[in-house]
Assembly symmetry: C2
Homo-oligomer: 364 residues x 2
């Protein structure tokens, strides 16, 4: 079984590491010459819309998936009409555009913050009174890790925020004074079987995820499972999907979803019976899904910008290093560590130590 992946970054790398023990082989289509997944399979080096490479991918792979949602529509169309592609193209199309995404969520009665599409500074100025301040202005497409986002504190911020977006179609969203941020990772396979991971509590700084902690038995688990099921079934989804929420008054309000394996589920490599990466591959290859039961207490800490001293990481009891073999660069996700402990206290102790190490090299 050969799996084609659009993208050759760390998510593709971790999919391959999960799939190789199942006997799978991998082929990556990735524009970057130094793709960190490249050593784990074949690297088709070129653009996502290169017709020769796409034809090669279709010919060689039994099924195609992707590690990020910003795949050109024409690419998804070509692949879908020539081979098996999971998740389905509709999930990509919805997730690529924040306005379409929020419309879709609301159509399914999945609550979201108030929002409006804005195509000009005039439109933005016009809608703001109904939102109040603060509010968030985001590009409708291509945003990730907080890129293309501005907080609007007063009406004096509007012109500058609009200029930063360089006139691309945007969305303005009500600012949510959330109690916490959580996400649910779920997998749906080709037989429509669904499994849910325990909720993850996520801590961001400057728009980048820093820490994600597995929350077994959270009181919002059932609510999250019900909401993500609606989304999976409406999209006739196949694969792993992550749905991110704000928690307000102990209720879930959807922020966005990612039609792929997700950074907030990396703890599942050690912290769940079967990881999100293996379950994504099982889902798209028509295999039964594996147990998502938590194993011990677990959390994930991102290393941003550069790798800390490996010896210091590995000295922390029950820390598991996952390096992506990427060159250091400010704000770049270089590696993460998973903690899997036997007590809640040991987990908190490990999180503090790993955060301290992460803070040394993180200049973002």
């Amino acid at each position: 079984m050969k799996i084609g992946i659009l993208g050759g970054g760390q998510l593709a790398r971790m999919m391959a590491l999960a799939g190789i023990p199942l006997g799978m082989e991998f082929i990556f289509l990735e524009p970057a010459a130094e793709a960190c997944a490249a050593g784990l399979g074949e690297h088709l080096h070129g653009d996502y819309n290169d017709p020769t490479l796409l034809a090669e991918l279709v010919k060689r792979a039994d099924v195609v998936t992707y590690e990020f949602e910003n795949v050109p529509a024409a690419t998804a169309e070509f692949l879908t009409s020539h081979t098996l592609v999971f998740p389905p193209a509709e999930a990509l199309a919805v997730a690529q555009d924040r306005w379409i995404e929020k419309n879709f969520l609301n159509h399914l009665a999945i609550p979201t913050p108030a929002y409006a599409a804005v195509n000009s500074l005039a439109e933005l100025t016009q809608v703001m009174p109904s939102f109040g301040y603060p509010a968030i202005l985001k590009s409708r497409t291509q945003g990730y890790d907080g890129k293309g986002q501005s907080v609007l504190h007063t009406e004096h911020d509007l012109a500058n925020a609009w200029q930063i977006l360089k006139g691309v179609p945007a969305i303005v969203e009500a600012f949510i004074p959330f109690e916490r941020e959580v996400s649910i990772i779920a997998a749906r396979n080709r037989s429509h079987e669904i499994v849910f991971y325990p909720l993850s509590e996520n801590h961001h700084r400057k728009g980048i995820l820093r820490t994600a902690q597995c929350l077994p038995n959270d009181s919002l688990q059932a609510q999250a499972e019900e909401l993500v099921s609606r989304l999976l079934n409406a999209l006739d989804y196949v694969g792993v999907l992550a749905l991110e929420f704000f928690v307000v008054n102990n209720q879930l309000m959807a922020n966005e979803f990612a039609p792929r394996v997700h950074n907030s589920g990396h703890w599942s490599i050690e912290g769940a019976q079967i990881s999100q990466f293996e379950n994504h591959l099982r889902a798209i290859t028509d295999l039964p899904l594996g147990s998502t039961a938590p194993v011990g207490f677990s959390a994930m800490i991102n290393f941003i910008g550069a790798l800390p001293d490996i010896k210091q990481v590995l000295t922390i009891p029950n820390a598991h290093l996952h390096s992506y073999n990427k060159k250091p660069r400010k704000g770049r996700k270089i590696a993460h560590a998973c903690l899997r402990t036997f007590t809640a206290d040991a987990l908190q102790d490990g999180i503090e130590k790993l955060r301290a190490l992460a803070d040394i090299t993180d200049k973002s």
Copy 2:
């Protein structure tokens, strides 16, 4: 950090899968064209004593290790005099010859079955009265998975058994009516730190390991740790080592040791905090060793000859498949499955189901 490995089979493959998340890269020297580790690093294709390839390995790798002990002495010598090689050449030399190995163990007061070296049928006939029947005749070198071994039931078996060995130097050993077979996996790093895994109880059939089960809190754990420590320190060992025992009258009697990661420790991939593969790599690269604490209840079942239906394997709760991507062949280790369960009952249930699947395809 680039790791050179002599051998490119499943042990090398699993070392690479454990080392890649640590940011390590791999280069394999392996005579077989279809090396199952080859997709995880560079494959130097040729003999273990090819001087050009050995020079290439020395040039490219920061440290060299091996996945099997039958490395030609000249190869080990060349590597040792040109680069860092772990485990040390002496451990190889001792483990390669059953007679030297048993002398070494007895010198350290590690009890073994009675044994004698025999170089001819006449010598064999002469020593047999002091052993009695049954006894085991084994080639001194090159034996694995029960190859090169004959059981001697009566004096009439001697001539035939000797002929099967084709005149190679041999060893005769007293037959041990053991209660069970266990092994201990231990790791010693370059700073002489030592960690021990829980004992594994091993079940063989026709000389091939079929099932290994992790035994947390076994009453013989302390005795095993004491014995393997003597061996590790005497060899100034660096890396993972497996010491196999017969249990007789609830006492340990050493059978043999393997200076490498070992089939009876494969359960540690899911069943221990840090696997034998990762701890071997940490040991040889001067990193701190990781916790060997058991995670749940675990066992490993080998798939011999051919792979069972993957869907059936993955339907068994908490089963983890490890395929080696090797072509089916009678008696060949093709894959294994690890079970990691939350109760002892679930483990026994899973072992029975996996053994039933393994028996379908195993024609050995």
